[in-house]
Amino acid sequence: MDLSVTDFLALDAVTVQFGALRAVDEVSLRVRKGERRAIIGPNGAGKTTLFNAITGVVRATTGKVLFEGADVTRTAIHERARRGMSRTFQITNLFPNLTVAENMRLALRGLSPRKFSLLGSPALNSEEAGRADRALEVSRLGARRDSRVKEMSYGEQRQLEMAMALAAQPRLLLLDEPAAGLSPSERVIVSDIIRALPRDLTLVLIEHDMDLVLSLVDYVTVLNNGKLLVEAPPAEIRLNKDVQDVYLGKARHHA
């Protein structure tokens, strides 16, 4: 497959093998800059594993991951983060014993040399404080700065996941089931937050909630059994027979 440098994120025949299991099977994918892409598929389709291969949590067994034209297939997680990738986690992955403000501080400083200040003051400088405030406002957590994360509701924790991913001012934001386990009213909040994200931010989103996904993205990739099944705009996905068979039908029965 010819990979042009203009693709923002490109996967070239990526396979991830766990022992005998092919979690991701020769998936190729191209995401343009500023695009909003959803990856959907039934449980066990390989969505999260594909995410992990993009962000570096697992390495592709074969195939290539290219980010802004550079091969990052073997690049460490924190290096990919430095290049502008930021992600949230399907299972809430925060710092539960720290406050919201401290969580934000860690999110902000991941890419700043100040994280190595061994004896400096812990306070944010004004530029950092501004970014933290903006990310918290966008995620509607402005009033919860001093709350300890483990004392917050699950919905608020999901919102903090988003705020932390945004604080690093990424160029590529990967959201792993941002609305999983949320009540209908909390889902509305999350989809509003996503809709309000800046348009130049490239977004890749895994989600189970079809209605939520299809209203948010420009393009949909469907995975099934680790393989790429269909790629199409949301309107076509609803009508696609294969997708209805493997995903929608089953999902309806489960729900």
Binding site: A76, P96, N97, T99, R105, L106, A107, K115, L118, L119
Partner: protein
């Protein structure tokens, strides 16, 4: 309660504690003054254990050995080599830091029980070397030192020198755990995978934390060389690391200042109980079990929880 700025109540408690350590020796008999000196020195060891165990979420069992390396180097330099005790102490701290950095390279990729066992093994290696390398270390006989200068021979002046040194070290360690870097350690304790996703090189942060903990253990070890003027393999033995950990836990893990309470409780108990029975270690063991059951967050940790509950 914000963890950044020290709340007024905590600040008052710290100042009160410091005042007690400053004034109480004036009314104590010399023997007790020397015990209190030991408490201050071991509190530094316990605080460096706390940097890893409490703030980074990795429980080390080798910092006693790192402490002892510093003691060995200081004693060896000043007696066998005949050098200045202050240069000896500086070399001791340097040696401890280098050893800790080497240990760190091996230990930082592990966590949980593997970290515990690996650091235990590393500490045992140091102990084995000190025991067997008799031409340098004197084996089981140890080395008698020439560290303590004549003007500090009396207990009280020496106590105040240690007091000032420990006060400075404590302030530096407090700044360290509350610095931007210190916050990254608490982040690693809570979620390593999130730290990586945010762009942190977790291994590098662990390496720095481990080395800094070694540096502080080394400072304690060098002070101990001047306090004891003698070193033998028991100074680098596993019990040393375990005692440091017990003090940190008894005082309250992740509280830093709890180490002073822990050191006071354990060294005080040791000395009080050994007046009546040779089985003081049994009594210590029972005391430790009681603390683990009724106040697993330690003395200072327990007080903090109670205060937080009261405030609602």
């Amino acid at each position: 309660m914000s963890t950044d700025a020290m709340p007024r109540l905590a600040l008052a408690a710290v100042l009160l504690g410091a005042l007690a350590f400053a004034l109480v020796p004036l009314i104590l008999p010399t023997y007790q003054v020397s015990i209190l000196t030991e408490v201050l020195i071991y509190a530094v060891l316990a605080m460096s254990v706390d940097v890893l165990a409490g703030y980074t979420g990795r429980t080390p069992l080798c910092l006693g050995a790192v402490f002892g390396v510093s003691t060995y180097v200081t004693v060896y330099y000043s007696s066998t080599f005949g050098g200045s005790p202050y240069v000896g102490m500086a070399l001791g701290v340097l040696a401890a830091t280098v050893i800790a950095a080497l240990f760190a390279l091996l230990a930082i990729r592990t966590s949980g029980v593997y970290f515990l066992l690996l650091t235990l093994a590393l500490g045992m290696i140091v102990w084995g070397i000190c025991l067997r390398w008799t031409s340098i270390t004197g084996g089981e006989n140890g080395i008698r030192g020439n560290v303590r200068p004549a003007e500090l021979a009396a207990h009280l002046p020496f106590y105040y020198v240690v007091f000032v040194a420990v006060a400075v070290v404590t302030f530096v360690m407090w700044r360290f755990v509350h610095s931007p870097f210190g916050l990254t350690l608490r982040g690693i304790r809570d979620s390593e995978s999130r730290m990586r996703a945010l762009g942190y090189n977790v291994s590098l942060h662990m390496f720095i934390a481990f080395t800094v903990a070694g540096l502080f253990s080394g400072i304690a070890g060098a002070l101990y060389a001047m306090f004891n003027d003698f070193v033998s393999p028991s100074t680098v033995a596993l019990t040393q690391s375990v005692e440091g950990l017990l003090m940190a836990i008894t005082g309250g893990i992740g509280t830093l200042f709890g180490s002073f309470i822990g050191a006071l409780a354990i060294i005080g108990l040791e000395n009080a109980v050994s007046l009546y029975t040779e089985r003081w270690q049994t009594v210590l063991g029972v005391a430790f079990i009681v603390i683990m059951i009724f106040a697993p967050e330690g003395i200072l940790g327990g007080i903090k929880t109670l205060l937080a509950r009261k405030r609602g």
